[in-house]
Every structure is written in structure tokens, then in C-alpha cells.
């Protein structure tokens, strides 16, 4: 049976080193399969987070040869196996152990975003009416599996560690899903500009490239939100129209 070498980051709390493991591989295997085989046969204490093995839970996010990807969705046949496959934890979040990172920051920041606030019900029985095409636009954002690969690849978080000033692509997608919802009445534009730091995004589109769900994060979520910020803060004509409309 053929073998492949995996160079896996081993360590705790950001300190550690890469260790090489040679393991047998077979047709159809994904990176997570190889990690499980290494865990079973050579390194029983290797920490790896996983759940569904179907690309839907977003648990097995890691960096494979420097690219943020889901280990369960990366086939070995898509990688060059004549050299060691490098596996490391996501760089934008604190390392807990080996391939596992602490992504709890995302959930803490998410709680601070203004929640869904629907308008008054359309019908007397307390229900609403929405057109399918209006809700289709935000439906794309609901595909997010919270793997946080977009947060990992975002250079604002990854290289500049501006976690205190910028919420990152995932939480901008979350905000867009609320802000563009046809029933939502809340205004989050001031928060987007100030606390959420949307101005830090310089449209590298790296987040879109790594999204395993194919969400067009930059074009459909971040730029439309940037334009809403422009409407309220940088466009005097829009401001004038708003005053006249009142």
C-alpha cells in the first residue's frame, strides 16, 4: 500500500514543533482520514476536532499546506504527496493543542451584534408575509457552517491581530444576514462602521476563496454592507435626500 508523509504541528498554547508521520494511504482518502489513522496507529494523544466528516459541521478547520481548508473535504488526490503534507492549526486563533484552536472569540463577538428585530406582524394572526426572492438573498448567508476559515485567512485578524477592532468576515456575513432580511427593522450601520470595523476590510477576497460553502462573502455581504455605511456616513446627497424625505 502506498504511503505519504504528514508534517503535523504538535504543541500546546502556541508552543510546539512540526513532527513527521508516515502512514499508509488508499484511494478516496481525505486528510482527516489520514490524521485519524496517524492518531490510531502512531500518536494516540494527537488532538484534532471533528464531527460530521461531511463538510457540514465546520469542526475540522485547519491549514493544509498553508491553505485554510476543511480536513474532511480535502482529498489526498488533490495534494502533491511526493513531499510532506503540512498540517497546522488555524493561525488567527489561540492554539489549544495540536490541530485544535480556541474559536470562542467568534461566539463572544457574535453575541454583541444587534439581534433580529422583526417589524410588526403583517397579518392579524401575528404572521408575516415575505417574497421568496427577498429572502433568497440572505439565504446564501445562512449556508455558513461557522468553520471560521474566512476568519483564519483574513489578514486583518491573521497578520495584524485586530480582534479588538474588527469582527472579521464570518461576523460580517452574520450581520448581513440580519441587516438585509426583509422583515428586520434594526439598524446596525453605526456599529458596522465603529465597533465592528468594516473599514478595516480591504477587499482581498481571501475569505471568499476559502469558504467551503461557496458563499460570495466579499461581493454579497461585505461590499453591500460597506455601501450601506457609505449611504449613512460618506454620501452627502443621500443625507440630503433623507432630510427632504422627512
Amino acid at each position: 500500500m502506498p504511503t505519504a508523509t504528514f508534517r503535523i504541528w504538535r504543541g500546546q498554547n502556541g508552543k510546539g514543533e512540526f513532527q513527521d508521520y508516515v502512514t499508509e494511504i488508499s484511494d478516496g482518502m481525505v486528510v482527516l482520514d489520514a490524521v485519524h489513522r496517524i492518531q490510531a496507529e502512531q500518536a494516540n494523544d494527537l488532538a484534532v476536532r471533528w464531527n460530521c466528516k461531511a463538510g457540514k459541521c465546520g469542526s475540522c478547520s485547519a491549514e493544509i499546506n498553508g491553505n485554510p481548508r476543511l480536513m474532511c473535504m480535502t482529498r489526498l488526490s488533490s495534494l502533491r504527496l511526493d513531499q510532506a503534507v503540512v498540517l497546522q492549526p488555524m493561525k488567527s486563533f489561540p492554539s489549544i493543542k495540536d490541530l485544535v484552536t480556541d474559536v470562542s472569540w467568534n461566539f463572544r463577538v457574535k453575541k454583541a451584534i444587534k439581534p433580529f428585530k422583526p417589524r410588526r406582524p403583517d397579518a392579524a394572526d401575528g404572521t408575516w408575509r415575505m417574497a421568496q426572492e427577498d429572502v433568497d438573498r440572505v439565504q446564501e448567508f445562512r449556508k455558513c457552517i461557522e468553520c471560521f476559515l474566512c476568519q483564519d485567512v483574513c489578514h486583518v485578524l491573521r497578520e495584524h491581530s485586530l480582534h479588538d477592532h474588527f469582527v472579521g468576515p464570518r461576523l460580517l456575513v452574520y450581520t448581513a444576514a440580519l441587516e438585509m432580511h426583509p422583515l428586520d427593522n434594526e439598524n446596525r450601520v453605526n456599529e458596522l462602521r465603529n465597533g465592528n470595523g468594516i473599514g478595516y476590510c480591504n477587499i482581498t477576497k481571501c475569505c471568499t476563496k476559502v469558504c467551503p460553502e461557496g458563499i460570495r462573502i466579499t461581493d454579497n455581504a461585505i461590499i453591500p454592507l460597506k455601501e450601506r455605511v457609505v449611504d449613512e456616513h460618506f454620501d452627502p446627497l443621500q443625507k440630503l435626500f433623507r432630510i427632504l424625505r422627512k
Binding site: 498553508g66 426572492e133 495584524h160 474588527f166 481571501c206 461590499i223
Partner: protein
């Protein structure tokens, strides 16, 4: 906002575990934009060879001052400072240039290619500090929609240039007659590509319908939004093709005017 518990370390400039040729895209972007900037600057300062028969170079349209027979305001005024270059292109190129400079696609592209901010995804950056588009000068990128309004006006003007490029003056009789030359096609293709780029603009997509949460309430708005969205999905493609088509259109007219190329009449 909630802080992260452990300070993370940023990588050295160019450091990455990526194995692919990540540098090719920023290098091609750098070369492509550099070629355009150098050529456009050179062409704008020439002030001549921008008109050939019914063709007018897009770099010089609208011709505000210039040939008294064709320009909007006649010959160059006497008060024009002697130290200032005489070129109609320099009066107008700031508008389409500003549109492209503040374009969302180009911003992402030139931040990577010229600023290495970042050089490519998951590649280490040369600078430790980062301010993004929150403060001067990059906060000025937010005026993109005003350049969009100007770009839409330019599209109409360039469309009229294509119409004028259909009417040739016979050299012997002086009569004006309908015709199509290779130059007409060059100018027409250029306008089509520019239109595809301009109508796929992210700001236009927002203004035409994206700012509204219930887009289905107006069929005109919904259809317009869907059309812009369709073009927007190919914004990068049209950004590059229109960039080179406008450069080629100027080159074509210039070389014909200089007598180096011959303009073939199709009809």
C-alpha cells in the same frame, strides 16, 4: 468588543506554508496595471495623434479644448498657462481614472500587487501596522459612487463617438457617408466592454436595488438589480478586458493617425 486571550504572532514578509505559485497573480496584476499606467500617462501627455477621420481616441473624449472644429469649447484658450501641458486627455482622465482607482475589484488587486497588503492570502506582510480604509487617505475610497456617476456620463459620450465613427467623409467629394471601418469596431467593442464593467459596479448594484431589503416590490428595480448582479459576477473579467480595450483603442487611433497602421474599411 471581546478580546482574544493570547496575543497571536504575525509572520515575516513573504512567509507562508503555501506550496503553490502564489506570487504569480500579484505579479501579473502589477505588470498589467503598470503597463496601463505607463502607457496612459505617456498617451495623455502627447496631445496629438488622437483623432483619425471619424475616430476619436477614448483617452481624449470628450475633447473639451483642442481642434476648433470638433472640441466642445473650441481652441485652447489664450489664458492657458504656458507651463501647463496642452492635452485634452489631462482635463478628463482623472474621472475614469478615479472610477478605476476606487473600484472595489481594483482596490483588492492593487493592495496586494503594489502594497503587499497582503501579498497573497496567508502570506506574511512587510508592515506590522495596519489602518485599512478607516482613515485618510484610504477613507477617500468611499467616494467611488460619485466617480460612478461620472463614468456613466462618459459611457454616453463614448457611445456617441461610436455613432460618429460610422460616418466617413469621402476625401474626393467631401460627402459624408455611412461606413464601418476596423476602427469603428475597435471603438464599439471598447464601449461594450466599458459598459459591462461600469454596469457591473458594486456601487451601482447597491444604488439600483441592493440598498433595499424588499427588492421584489418593484419589478423594474428587481430586474435591474438582477442584470447588474449578473455583470457584477464577472466584474474582474470586465475590469481587465475594458482596461486593455481602452488602451488598444487609443493605440489603434494613434497608429492610424501617425500613418503606421492602415484602417481597413469593411463597408
Amino acid at each position: 468588543m471581546s478580546s482574544i486571550d493570547i496575543p497571536l504572532q504575525s509572520g515575516r514578509f513573504g512567509s507562508t506554508k503555501r506550496r503553490d505559485r502564489w506570487w504569480t497573480q500579484p505579479i501579473f496584476t502589477f505588470l498589467g496595471l503598470s503597463v496601463f499606467i505607463v502607457y496612459a500617462t505617456w498617451a495623455a501627455f502627447q496631445g496629438q495623434y488622437y483623432r483619425f477621420g471619424p475616430y476619436l481616441s477614448p483617452f481624449y473624449s470628450p475633447e473639451i479644448f483642442g481642434n476648433p472644429l470638433h472640441s466642445w469649447l473650441g481652441a485652447w484658450p489664450a489664458w492657458w498657462p504656458s507651463w501647463a501641458p496642452i492635452s485634452a486627455a489631462l482635463l478628463i482622465l482623472w474621472a475614469p481614472g478615479g472610477f478605476r482607482l476606487t473600484c472595489y475589484y481594483y482596490r483588492g488587486a492593487y493592495y496586494k500587487a503594489f502594497w503587499a497588503d497582503p501579498p497573497a492570502c496567508t502570506v506574511g506582510e512587510p508592515r506590522k501596522s495596519y489602518r485599512g480604509e478607516r482613515s485618510f487617505p484610504l477613507i477617500l475610497q468611499n467616494i467611488h459612487r460619485y466617480f460612478l456617476y461620472l463614468a456613466l456620463i462618459f459611457l454616453v459620450i463614448l457611445g456617441l463617438d461610436v455613432w460618429r465613427a460610422l460616418w466617413f467623409t469621402a476625401p474626393d467629394s467631401g460627402h459624408v457617408q455611412f461606413g464601418i471601418g476596423v476602427g469603428t469596431l475597435v471603438l464599439a467593442i471598447n464601449v461594450v466592454l466599458l459598459a459591462c464593467y461600469t454596469f457591473g459596479c458594486h456601487s451601482l448594484r447597491h444604488l439600483i436595488g441592493g440598498r433595499v431589503d424588499e427588492i421584489s416590490k418593484s419589478s423594474v428595480r428587481r430586474n435591474s438589480y438582477n442584470c447588474v448582479t449578473c455583470l457584477n459576477a464577472r466584474h474582474m473579467l470586465f475590469a481587465w478586458t475594458s482596461l486593455f480595450s481602452v488602451m488598444f483603442a487609443d493605440l489603434y487611433v494613434r497608429l492610424c493617425a501617425m500613418g503606421i497602421w492602415h484602417d481597413w474599411r469593411i463597408i
